[in-house]
Every structure is written in C-alpha cells, then in structure tokens.
C-alpha cells in the first residue's frame, strides 16, 4: 500500500492508485453531501455568514449524529444552545476537509503529491469522518463489535473501513516520523 510516506526533505507525501483515488473521492463526497443535507439552511442570511444556524436536536441519522454529536451528555437545553451556535460551522469545516481531500486527489491523478500542514489536518480529520460514517452504517457500537456482515455490501464496507484505518496509520506515522 502506498498511501502516505515521508519525503527526503521530511515532507509528508501521498500517493493513491486510480481505484483508491476514485474510492476516496466517492466516500469523501458522500460525507460532504450527508453533512450538507443534514444541516438546515439558516433562514437568516447574516447568521449563515457568521456560521450560526444549526439544528435544535441530535440529527436523526446515526452517522450524522456521530459527526455532529451533542456537547452535553445530560443537558438537552445546553446541547441545543451549543448546537444552534456551532453546528453549522462544524459541519462546514468537515465539508471543507472532505473537499480538500477530493481536490488534492483529482489534481494528483495517481501521482505522488505533498501535503502541507493544513492538508495533513484536513486529511486526518476527513479519514476519521469517513470511518465514523462507515461504522455507523455497519452498526459498530462497541470495541468488540465487528459490525454486520450480512451482505456483500456490508463485507465490502468493512474492508474499506479497515483499509482506511491502515491509511490513517501511515499518515500518522508520516506526520510524526
């Protein structure tokens, strides 16, 4: 597996084959879409500009709920207030991370490319978000959970989920050699 490596000058390098590029772009795109659709467009344009205008309660889709969780474990009112103030910008930052991953992959077209500090942060977060969504879809809820494997699709998602763990490990190792 290529994924991430350290360049001779200490830089973080990335390389993904055609299939991996397509897969990562698809997954990052799906996470972006999921977030974009779930965060209600704010009525007030000014609020939208400053990033205020999230929903009132935990998103119903468990995958989105894991990406945009409650900030208070036992205080619904405080969670709602916090969500109203921060959810929209949190979702926007996650969408921006996913977009940066897609843009970088499409520009590289399978060739090796360098990740600056900003791109490293976007990638490490975007990979996490994709894995969180896959885990929610697979029903992985505890440490011992392997998730459902009742279909070809589920087994495939599990393979991708594990592959992304390996990809993230190579990124972490490249960032802190």
């Amino acid at each position: 597996m290529n994924a991430f490596s350290v360049g001779t000058n200490g830089s973080v390098r990335a390389q993904f084959g055609d299939f991996e590029t397509e897969l990562l772009c698809d997954l990052a795109g799906q996470v972006g879409d999921l977030l974009g659709e779930s965060v209600d467009p704010p009525d007030d344009h000014l609020l939208a500009i400053v990033g205020i205008g999230g929903g009132d309660s935990l998103p119903t889709d468990p995958a989105v709920a894991r990406l945009l969780p409650d900030a208070y474990a036992d205080d619904t009112e405080a969670s709602t207030e916090f969500r109203r103030l921060t959810e929209h910008s949190l979702a926007d930052r996650k969408i921006a991370n996913a977009r940066l991953v897609i843009t970088g992959l499409l520009a590289a077209q399978g060739a090796e490319f360098e990740l600056d500090a900003e791109a490293q942060q976007a990638w490490i977060r975007a990979i996490t978000d994709i894995r969180l969504v896959l885990a929610a879809r697979l029903g992985i809820e505890t440490d011992d959970d392997t998730g459902r494997s009742d279909s070809e699709e589920a087994r495939w998602m599990r393979d991708v989920y594990d592959w992304l763990a390996a990809v993230q490990t190579t990124l972490l190792e490249a960032m802190e050699p």
């Binding site: 894991r66 990406l67 945009l68 969780p69 409650d70 900030a71 208070y72 474990a73 036992d74 405080a78 916090f82 921060t86 949190l90 930052r93 996650k94 490490i124 977060r125 996490t128 978000d129 894995r131 969180l132 885990a135 992985i140 809820e141 505890t142 440490d143 959970d145 763990a165 993230q168 490990t169 972490l172 960032m175 802190e176």
Partner: protein, 97 residues
C-alpha cells in the same frame, strides 16, 4: 466599561466556584494512536500523559482531559468534534466526571 469589568469578574467567580470539565468518551472507531495524537497536538500533552489519558478513555470508557471555565471547555469540545472524537462538557463534581 465598569459594567464590562463587573461582568468579567462575575464570570471568573462562577468558573472558580464551579469548574467545568471536558470529557472524552470511548468509541469503537478511532484508533488509539489517533486519540493519543489528538491529545498531544491539540492540548500539547507530552506523549506519556496523552497515552495515559488515551488508555483511560479506552479502559474506563471516558477521561477528563481538561478543566476550567465553561466557555473554554466548550471550545475544547468543539475542537474534539472537529477531530471526530466524542467529547462532552460537564460540571465538575456532579457525578458524571
């Protein structure tokens, strides 16, 4: 001006009386190496402390990673959510921390 000062003092007083904490919860998804990395890179913890907190999260299901004023804890929690970690704000000493 004096109004602002009084309010600032009030906020400080409140945070002294009732410290708040940031709790990071265990999840089955995030890699232990990643959680430790987040603790080091965001909070600036040394590797030993970051690994210790990470193990606490893993084994006890949660760990208190910061304490202080409520607003500060909310910033930490939002940052943890940015990283994809599951974190919440709690009032210290209410039995949940």
């Amino acid at each position: 001006m004096s109004d602002t000062l009084e309010r600032t003092e009030l906020v400080e007083q409140q945070s002294l009386d009732t410290p708040w904490v940031t709790i990071v919860w265990n999840d089955p998804v995030n890699l232990m190496t990643y959680v430790s990395y987040v603790f080091r890179s965001y909070f600036g913890f040394a590797r030993e402390k970051a690994d210790e907190l990470m193990m606490q999260v893993h084994e006890n299901g949660r760990a208190v990673v910061a304490s202080g004023a409520r607003e500060e804890m909310e910033r930490h929690v939002e940052a943890m959510h940015d990283f994809g970690l599951w974190a919440t704000v709690s009032k210290d000493g209410d039995g949940k921390a």
